[in-house]
Each structure stands twice: as structure tokens, then as C-alpha cells.
């Protein structure tokens, strides 16, 4: 099969010029008073400042979040306006659950390949400190009915059938709409069906923390992570990811109790990604435009693929479906890949994805003659992953892209595979290469 590259190398191919993110911070932490919009605007504003380009060069901003901000549903547009970019900068909002900013990135890359964009900002933001709280269905129906009523008695009648429990606010569930299972329950299910041991999960978590801690210590993140002074007092500043635990150990992780199946489970708070606040953004350009402006790109998008599996089956197995497609489109095999960045929703999911990569049985299920192959653990998430760094849903994709390109440069390697699993049984895979 001939490769299906996205854009022409040297001209219409999309390159990442710069990436930047806020620190990823535990929900309710230093960013507790900020909204998704605040975080998104802060990172975009600073990204454009640091790139030192004329903001008028940018012709599009694509941004998203997994849980929408109801007061500013067109978040991409609001981020553009709130970051003092030109008022005429076109924008659209995307959503692909945890792969949202991967979607933002491939959207702008596709537009560039088609020749309809020259330079764009792609990214995502999430504040788990500022999630929308809903009213129950009966109460919201009553409120809508009351708002349409013409007389006071009619208005009061709208609330007649409500029960006390209908008044209680409803927080958003991180559960599958179609199956009712939460993410954690799905991970638990995968651990059991794929026979992923608790030890393997804890080892993945430990590696994530150790590598993230080492990366922070050696300054890997200094240029990727901005400091965010927190308004209105600005007396506190978000400077560093606060979930990373340099001192954690297998023993400490082993002590944690399973959360989703207390009796027979293996998924714990320690081997899962936590609820996180943060935002990340990429400055993406057509390769020819970046050259014309004298900018040195970090790397290019070679190919991408999205895939889906039945959410009732193994919800977070999406990457195992998307990665082979992306490699095919890139005209590559796993052997051609130097580094793998895999989003860690749960260690059980990472293990399941890796197992599927190398499983002949899974390859048969896909109708492929052979599995992709083993991923060398030394090449996987070399600077840590979402378990240690945190996982602000909308921002993780952009974080993975900038982290992969930076890791390639540091090791003087050329190709990376990035994967993200997402709600709904979705999977995303990117093939990146240095220019």
C-alpha cells in the first residue's frame, strides 16, 4: 500500500514551531480559582510571545476541551479573544474526549495540507476545578417549562411534581453514555480480561513518576512549561507539575487499595491518571511558511489515524486499532519508530495497548498478517506520562506532541509514534518526524 502522507514534505506539510503548556496541577490546587478559558488564554498568549512572531501571521486557532465550559462553549474563539490575538482571528472548537488537542493538531495540519491555512494555533484546556454542575433532568425540565410559562400559577405548577432528590445538583460523570461504565471500571475490566497483573500496572506507574521526576530535575520541561501567576492577587504562581512523586516506590504503590473493585480489582489511584487542571498549545505552520519566516521547526506530522472500537468491548483499546493504520499511512513499521509516546489514562490501559501491539491474536482480529511488534520499554514515555504528569483531558494531546518532539531532539532521533485513547472506544495515533 502506498503511503498517505499529510501534506508535501518541504511545502504543505505541517510542522510544529513551538509548543507550550501550563504546569499540570491537581484539581483544586494552585489553579483552583481559574477556568479552562483562563488557562487556555494564558498558554496561548505566552506561546505567541515566546515564538516572537507577528500575531497577524496566525490565520486560525483550533482549541478544545473534553468537558465543555457552558458559559463559553465556543472555547477556541474565546481563547483567541482572551489572549489578545487579533480580533479577526478565525477559530473553531473541537472535541474528541481525551484526544481533543490531537484532533486540534490534525485539523490544522489537514487544513495546511489542503492549502487553506498557513499558520495556526492548536491546543486544548481543561479545568477539573471548574466543571459544570448540572441540575437533575426533572428539575431542568421544570425550569424550562417555568421559563416559558406566562402566568405565575402556571410557573409554579411547573415545579409541582419535583421530589427532594431532584433538587440536588449533579456533577458530570466520567462515565460512558452508552454503557454507563466509568473510565475506571472500564480499565478494571480490561485489566481482568487481558490478565494485566497489579505489579505490571504499578511498574508502569513507577516508571512514569521516575522518568517525569528525572526530566524535571534535568530541565527537560523548563522550556515546555510556562509559569502561570494566578489572578487576581498574583501572589501564587503555578510553576511545576505537582502530581509527580520523585520518591514513590513499588512498595508504596502496592499499598494502595483498588478503587473501582475493592474486592478483586487492581486499578488504584496510584496507577491511574488523576483529575488535573492545565492547558497546552502548539504553534503549527506549513513547512514552507515556517522556512520563509526563518523559523526552525521542532518536527513535522507525517501521518495520523483515528479508529474506534465498541465501547462495550474494551473501551480504552483504541490506540491498538489506530496505530497500525497510522503506520501504514506513514509507510512505516514499528521498527522505523524511535520513540513511543502513549497517553497513560490507566496503567492497565497502557499494558493492554502494548499487549495488543504484540499479539498475533489481536493482529488476526484486525485482519493483519502480523502484529505490530513489541515496544521497547526504554523507548516508551521517556520523560514520563499522564499518570505522573497529570491529565487535563483537553490538553494532554498537545502535551504529548511537544514532549515527543523534544525527546527526539534530545536523543537526536527522528521518528515518534504518539497514541491517545479516548472515551467512546476512540483511539488516535500520530507519526511525527524531525525536519
Amino acid at each position: 500500500m502506498a503511503p498517505q502522507l499529510i501534506g508535501q514534505p518541504g511545502t504543505s506539510r505541517a510542522v510544529v514551531v513551538k509548543g507550550l503548556r501550563t504546569p499540570f496541577v491537581k484539581a483544586g490546587g494552585v489553579f483552583g480559582s481559574l477556568t479552562s478559558l483562563d488557562l487556555g488564554a494564558a498558554v496561548v498568549r505566552e506561546l505567541v510571545e515566546r515564538a516572537d512572531i507577528d500575531p497577524a501571521e496566525i490565520d486560525q486557532i483550533v482549541f478544545g476541551q473534553a468537558i465543555p465550559t457552558l458559559l463559553a462553549p465556543s472555547i477556541a474563539r474565546e481563547v483567541g479573544l482572551a489572549s489578545a490575538l487579533p480580533r479577526g482571528l478565525e477559530a473553531h472548537t473541537v472535541s474528541r474526549a481525551c484526544a481533543t488537542s490531537i484532533q486540534a493538531f490534525t485539523d490544522v495540519a489537514s487544513a495546511m495540507a489542503l492549502g487553506v491555512s498557513q499558520a495556526a494555533i492548536a491546543g486544548g484546556t481543561e479545568s477539573m476545578s471548574d466543571v459544570p454542575i448540572f441540575t437533575s433532568r426533572p428539575l431542568s425540565r421544570a425550569l424550562v417549562k417555568a421559563s416559558r410559562a406566562k402566568t405565575l400559577p402556571e410557573r409554579l405548577r411547573a415545579f409541582a411534581g419535583l421530589k427532594p432528590k431532584d433538587i440536588v445538583p449533579v456533577p458530570p460523570a466520567i462515565a460512558e453514555y452508552s454503557t454507563g461504565l466509568t473510565m475506571g471500571e472500564s480499565a478494571e475490566k480490561m485489566a481482568k480480561e487481558n490478565h494485566i497483573s497489579r505489579t505490571w500496572q504499578d511498574e508502569i506507574a513507577l516508571a512514569s513518576h521516575q522518568r517525569a521526576a528525572a526530566a524535571w530535575k534535568t530541565g527537560v520541561f523548563d522550556a515546555q512549561v510556562m509559569h502561570v501567576p494566578v489572578p487576581p492577587a498574583y501572589t501564587s504562581t503555578g510553576t511545576t507539575d505537582d502530581i509527580v512523586r520523585p520518591d514513590t516506590s513499588l512498595e508504596a504503590l502496592a499499598k494502595l487499595r483498588p478503587v473501582f473493585d475493592r474486592a478483586h480489582g487492581s486499578v488504584t489511584a496510584g496507577n491511574s491518571s488523576p483529575l488535573t487542571d492545565g492547558a497546552a498549545a502548539l504553534l503549527v505552520m506549513r513547512e514552507d511558511r515556517a522556512k520563509a519566516l526563518g523559523l526552525q521547526p521542532l518536527g513535522a506530522l507525517r501521518a495520523f489515524a483515528y479508529a474506534a472500537t465498541d465501547p462495550g468491548d474494551q473501551l480504552l483499546q483504541g490506540p491498538a486499532y489506530a496505530a497500525p493504520l497510522a503506520l501504514d499511512r506513514a509507510g512505516m513499521t514499528l521498527k522505523d519508530i524511535d520513540l513511543v509516546e502513549m497517553h497513560e489514562a490507566f496503567a492497565a490501559q497502557v499494558a493492554s495497548n502494548l499487549q495488543a501491539f504484540s499479539s498475533p491474536e489481536f493482529a488476526r482480529k484486525l485482519g493483519r498478517p502480523a502484529p505490530l511488534g513489541e515496544v521497547d520499554p526504554e523507548r516508551l514515555n521517556v520523560h514520563g506520562g499522564s499518570i505522573a504528569l497529570g491529565h487535563p483531558f483537553g490538553a494532554t494531546g498537545a502535551r504529548i506532541v511537544m514532549q515527543a518532539l523534544d525527546a527526539l531532539a534530545r536523543r537526536d532521533k527522528s521518528t515518534a509514534l504518539c497514541t491517545v485513547c479516548a472515551a467512546g472506544g476512540l483511539g488516535a495515533a500520530l507519526i511525527l518526524e524531525r525536519v
Partner: protein
């Protein structure tokens, strides 16, 4: 050429004021006559049932032509001109067909008096729309019926507030005051005015809304009876005397005139208004204030360079140092100039303080309803901060506001030059370091300049732009333009120790210290100079800026200019004792008790101790002021100043020199150069060479010349 265009909309005549060849509409007798004629014609025309009056300019009417005011040579002329204006508006008010004013943009002075004489007023909701009676700022009062019609429309208390302060209000506030009847978007302003005119003509208009009970009560209690009125006026008088220090006659006359009208009727009030107008017009105070008005107007058009050099576009400003000065500069850059600004500070907590400072100033604007929350977010979004030089590359102007240290500033200059483009301007906000010395180490000295802001930046109106010999003229023009956009009054001065403002202030402060050494009382000195018209006395000022800072500057100037700038040793002694002024809560005054009394413990450090010697107020005033004026003349003579006008503006807006004296050069003109030389020589004989008259002043005295030939 006709100033008015009339267009019929059915039976409504829409009269548009469009003064030919002028950017704004102003009032003069010629305009008045033309309007009266047009009004008469409309009165005769049976097809016209009603009239709408509006403007074709960006503003409604900005007031009387101030130049024309200057052509009135006597109080009688002024009174007559006022009577003519009053009668014109009386005719308008008595016009049998209803007239509606459609107001967009500034509606000031005579413009508002015009609108007040109309039956009804509709205003646009644009921020540009401002209504007010600013005559007091020119030492005058509204002379075309304003002092009578405004209190009758909105009540004496609200009217006095507007007339005595000269402040203008936005449309929404005007609506609340009852000054206008309706506020609508500019796009439908004239249409709504036309509708309203028709409704008035047919008697189907809706009456204005009733006042709130509270308002009705206050008005009845304070204004409806003689006792309440007396109380109101007594209180107003007390307040304005406290503010004006008795130097400005206009507010007091205004009170009299408004009261006359309320007690003896409109006609008596109008007569009193005209008389007061004529008399005020002839006062020195009004003459000086009008000269100052012309000087600032001229300065607004001045590019700051004599040649044809043009300002370069400024798209982005960076500020080094986000302290009190840097934060203030960032604020005026984003809020007034609406430019993106990037602040560099040394660490996160300093960055936080800088951002908090800018936000604090914006919060104040929000609290005062000058800005809404969303507007604030927009302004704030233009401010970013960093601890390195990232994001500086595209800066067109970098303003440094770091500690006053030449080595530090030079190092920063080198770093900035390496991080920015070829055209990037490096402006130093220094008050004492010579710009030429800074530029010596520069790779691109032509781009190095001084921008001396005054503290607090968001309040102080003056900006001194300082050029060294090699500063590129386009760099000067760019910084002048930027300063104006930041809302500043900008003067360009040549590099030299103390530039202009600090230099003329130094001998003045030194002299106050000499007086102190000779035994004068601190409060007496300060009182004498406040009586001259300075907002604070020299010792209060030293407490504010810091005794150590004053001491440091005076040494720089002593080194540069020798004996005549030698500071008495007192200051150094006091500074060494930790007596630094308000910031240390220990200065010439006490800051630990109410009322800020003089800290008499100062005297212990002085020869003579607590026993103070009585001085005449004349001497306490004259010695510091003469040195101030004399040094200003030296600055003009040496080419530090480009003109006497700049010197006047700089002293008034930068140092609080009394506006009603018009500035040092106007004050010298009023006094006469010969008299000034005589007084200087008088003190020279007694106190020494520091009183030696400036050579230029002596020449002017010999030739009987003035610094401002126009006056």
C-alpha cells in the same frame, strides 16, 4: 460659508452644525448670529413644525472659541458678549416650535448651554459623548445662561458639582441627573430626536420620569427653602476654599451667581452671570489658564522634533522592571495606548507584584465605573510578563524602569540590544542618569533616549523625553507619539544633569533647606509656598519623594553645576539619621499621628535647635521661587528646553507649579524681567552667588523683552 445645514424630514427641520474648515464646532458671535437668523427663518416657515439640532462633527459643540475670548479687551466687552450669548439662547428657549438637541460626542461649555436652551435633549450612548461645563478650568464661569439653566434643570447641588469642578459626565450619568431625556445608540440618535420633536409638537410626548422620593426630599430640604439653601452654599464655599486655597476667583463667583438666580429669579441671575463673566475674563488667573490651555493644545500637535522626522509605528512595548514605575508605565501602555506590553522582572514573585499592580489600577477604574469587568479583562490580556527576554524580539520600544544604577542600566541595554531588532528603541526612565552616558556603551546609540515619567505614572500628566546629541530624530518623534498615546503631556528636553524638572526643583529645595538652617520654621516655609500656589510645600514634597532621593539628586547637580547648586549639609545629616520621609514614616512631618504635624525632633539635628526664628512670609516664598525661576531661564538659555512654552508646561504638569501663574516664564513675564533681576540681585548681595541672575534674564531685562512676546 454657512455653518448650518437644514434638511427637512417631513415637518421636522434637522439643523446640522458644521463649522466650515474646522475639526470641531466652537461658538463665536458670528456663529450665534448665523444660528439666530436660521432660527428666525424656521420660525416663519409654516412647513416647519419642530426642529432638531445636531452636529456633523465627531463632537457636538466643544465650547466657545477660546481665541475669541482673548480678543475681548475689557470687562464691559466680556459682559456684553455674555449678554449677547444669553439673549441668543433665551430666544432659542422661547422659540414657539419645540427644539430637540441630538447630542453625540463632547457637549461642553457653550455647547451644553446651547443644548440646555433646547426643549429636550437626546444623547448617544457612545463613550465619546461627554457633557460638562469646564469654564472653571479657564478661570471663568458659564456665561451664556449655564449657571441659571443647569440648576433649574437638575437641582442646585448637582449643578454646582458640575460647574465648580468642570468635570464632564457620560450620557448614562447625564440621564440619571436629568440632564438629558433619553440615551440611544449613535446610529439612531437623529431618528429618535426627530420622533421626540414630533411628539413634543403634537403633545403626545411622555413626561420625564418622576424623581425618586429620596431625591425629591433632598432637593426640597436643601434647595427649596432659604435655610437649606444657605446650608448648601456655605458647605460648597467651604469645600472650594479648601481646594483652591483662595487663588481661583471663578468658583466663588459661580456660587454667588447661582445663588442670586435662585433667590432673585432668572433675569437677575443672568445679569449677575454676565457681570461675573466679564470681570473673570479680565483676571490674571483666567489669562494664565487660557495661555496654558493654548500651550497644551499646541503641544498636542508638536511632534517633538524641529525637522520632518516621522514617528515610527509602535506595535509592542516592553518594560524592564515592574515596580511602581514599571507597573505604572505598563498600565498606561495597555490602558491608554491600547498596546501589548511585556514586563520583565527578575523572579515569579516580582512578576506577580507587577501584574497585581496593573490589575489594582484597573480594579480602581472598575470601581469608579470607568470600565466594566469585561473591558478590564481585555486590557489585562494585553499585559504579559516574563523573567527572561523572551518575547522582546518584536518590541518596538523597550522602556527600562529599574534601579538608578548606570552599570546595571548599561548591562540591560546591551542585553536588550542583543535580543531585539535593529530599530528597537531603548528608553530609560531615569530621573538622574545622563542619557549620553548610557548611550556611550550602546551598539545603536541613535536608538537610546530618556523617557522620564513621574510617580505615580497613572496620575502624573507629564512625560519628559530626553535626547542626547546622537538620538535619531525619528526616535524622538516615536517616543513623543507613544507618550501622547499613553495620555501624557510630553515635552522634549536635551540631556543634561537633572534634565529640566529635577534641575529647577533642586535649587528651590536647597533654598528651603538654607532657610531651615537659618532658623525658619518648617510649617512656615511650607505654608508660604502653598500660599504661592504650590500644592505642597518643599518639606512635604521631600517627605514624599524621600529625603535620601532628594539628597542624591542634589549631589549629582552640585557636581555638575558647582557652588550655586551646593546643598546645605542638613539633608545628608537627616538622611544618615534614617530620616527618609514618608516611606520610613520619619521625615519633616510625623506619620504616626493624625493631622501630620511637624516632627519637631528634626530641629534637634539642626543648628539653633528648637528655637525658631521668625521670617517674613515674603522672604520664605521669594527666595526658593526666585531660584526656581532663574534656573528655568538657564535651562532655556542652554538649550535644555526647546521653548519657554515647554518650560511652563513642564513646571506646571511635572512639579505642580501653580497653574494660575501659567508657568515660570509666564510668571517672569508677569513680574517683568527687570524686577526679577532686581530681586535676585537683592538676595545675591545678602545670601551669595547662588542668586546671580541668569545671563539671559539680565539681557531680557536690559532690552525690556518678554519670554512670551504674545502676552
Amino acid at each position: 460659508m454657512a455653518s448650518f445645514r437644514t434638511e427637512m424630514r417631513g415637518d421636522v427641520a434637522v439643523v446640522t452644525f458644521d463649522l466650515p474648515g474646522e475639526p470641531v464646532n466652537t461658538l463665536s458671535p458670528a456663529v450665534g448670529a448665523e444660528f439666530s437668523e436660521e432660527l428666525e427663518r424656521l420660525g416663519r416657515d409654516e412647513a416647519v413644525k419642530t426642529v432638531v439640532f445636531t452636529s456633523a462633527k465627531q463632537d457636538f459643540v466643544v465650547g466657545a472659541d477660546v481665541k475669541w475670548l482673548g480678543s475681548l479687551r475689557s470687562a464691559a466687552d466680556g459682559e456684553r458678549a455674555s449678554r449677547d450669548g444669553q439673549q441668543g439662547f433665551d430666544r432659542l428657549a422661547a422659540f414657539p416650535k419645540p427644539v430637540v438637541a441630538a447630542i453625540h460626542g463632547a457637549c461642553l461649555g457653550g455647547g451644553l448651554e446651547w443644548a440646555l436652551a433646547c426643549r429636550s435633549r437626546v444623547a448617544s450612548d457612545a463613550p465619546r459623548t461627554q457633557l460638562g461645563l469646564p469654564e472653571v478650568q479657564l478661570g471663568l464661569l458659564p456665561g451664556a445662561g449655564g449657571t441659571q439653566r443647569l440648576p433649574r434643570l437638575i437641582g442646585a447641588q448637582a449643578a454646582l458639582d458640575l460647574i465648580l469642578t468642570g468635570r464632564s459626565v457620560r450620557a448614562s450619568k447625564a440621564r440619571k441627573l436629568g440632564l438629558v431625556d433619553e440615551v440611544v445608540p449613535p446610529s439612531i440618535l437623529v431618528d429618535v430626536a426627530v420622533e421626540r420633536a414630533r411628539a413634543l409638537a403634537s403633545g403626545t410626548d411622555t413626561p420625564p420620569p418622576r424623581r425618586s422620593p429620596r431625591e425629591t426630599f433632598t432637593r426640597a430640604a436643601l434647595e427649596g427653602n432659604p435655610l437649606g439653601r444657605r446650608l448648601l452654599f456655605a458647605e460648597a464655599r467651604k469645600q472650594l476654599l479648601r481646594k483652591s486655597g483662595g487663588h481661583y476667583p471663578a468658583p466663588e463667583r459661580t456660587l454667588e451667581v447661582v445663588r442670586e438666580g435662585l433667590e432673585k429669579g432668572m433675569e437677575a441671575g443672568l445679569r449677575a452671570e454676565a457681570r461675573a463673566f466679564g470681570e473673570l475674563l479680565m483676571t490674571e488667573v483666567s489669562a494664565r489658564l487660557r495661555e496654558l490651555f493654548f500651550a497644551t493644545t499646541a503641544l498636542k500637535k508638536d511632534t517633538g522634533v524641529d525637522g520632518a522626522a516621522k514617528a515610527r509605528p509602535v506595535r509592542k512595548v516592553s518594560v524592564l522592571g515592574g515596580g511602581l514605575m514599571g507597573g505604572g508605565i505598563a498600565f498606561v501602555t495597555t490602558e491608554k495606548a491600547e498596546l501589548p506590553v511585556r514586563i520583565k522582572e527578575r523572579d515569579d514573585s516580582s512578576v506577580g507584584r507587577a501584574l497585581a499592580h496593573v490589575r489594582g489600577l484597573l480594579d480602581q477604574r472598575v470601581r469608579r465605573r470607568r470600565l466594566d469587568r469585561r473591558g478590564m479583562e481585555k486590557v489585562l490580556a494585553r499585559v504579559t510578563a516574563t523573567t527572561d527576554l523572551s518575547g522582546f524580539h518584536r518590541a518596538d520600544v523597550v522602556i527600562e524602569a529599574v534601579f538608578e544604577d548606570l552599570t546595571l542600566k548599561r548591562r540591560l541595554l546591551a542585553e536588550v540590544e542583543a535580543a531585539t531588532g535593529e530599530d528597537c528603541i531603548f528608553a530609560s526612565n531615569t530621573s538622574s542618569i545622563p542619557i549620553g552616558r548610557l548611550a556611550e556603551g550602546a551598539r545603536r546609540p541613535g536608538n537610546v533616549i530618556g523617557m522620564h515619567y513621574f510617580s505615580p505614572v497613572e496620575k502624573m500628566p507629564l512625560l519628559e523625553v530626553i535626547t542626547h546629541g546622537g538620538t535619531d530624530p525619528s526616535v524622538v518623534a516615536t517616543c513623543v507619539e507613544l507618550g501622547k498615546k499613553q495620555g501624557k503631556t510630553v515635552i522634549v528636553v536635551r540631556d543634561g544633569p537633572g534634565f529640566y524638572t529635577s534641575r529647577i526643583l533642586a535649587p528651590y529645595l536647597n533654598e528651603a533647606a538654607h532657610l531651615l538652617l537659618e532658623g525658619a520654621d518648617i510649617a512656615a516655609v511650607d505654608h508660604a509656598l502653598r500660599a504661592y500656589g504650590f500644592p505642597v510645600g518643599p518639606f512635604q514634597l521631600l517627605d514624599e519623594v524621600g529625603i535620601d532621593v532628594g539628597e542624591k539628586v542634589s549631589h549629582v547637580l552640585h557636581d555638575a553645576f558647582g557652588e550655586r547648586m551646593a546643598p546645605p549639609a542638613t539633608m545628608a545629616t537627616l538622611a544618615k539619621e534614617g530620616r527618609l520621609g514618608r516611606k520610613a514614616k520619619k521625615g519633616f512631618y510625623r506619620y504616626d499621628v493624625d493631622g501630620k504635624p511637624v516632627d519637631t525632633s528634626v530641629y534637634a539635628s539642626l543648628p539653633g535647635g528648637a528655637t525658631r526664628v521668625p521670617f517674613s512670609e515674603d522672604e520664605l516664598r521669594e527666595r526658593p521661587v526666585l531660584l526656581f525661576l532663574n534656573e528655568a531661564v538657564r535651562c532655556l538659555e542652554e538649550g535644555i528646553l526647546r521653548s519657554a512654552r515647554d518650560g511652563d508646561i513642564g513646571a506646571v504638569f511635572g512639579l505642580g507649579f501653580p497653574p494660575f501663574r501659567g508657568g515660570p516664564f509666564r510668571a517672569l513675564d508677569a513680574m517683568g524681567a527687570a524686577e526679577a533681576v532686581r530681586r535676585l540681585q537683592h538676595w545675591q548681595e545678602r545670601k551669595g552667588a547662588r542668586f546671580e541672575p541668569a545671563p539671559l534674564l539680565r539681557r531680557m531685562a536690559e532690552r525690556g523683552e518678554r519670554f512670551h512676546p504674545d502676552g
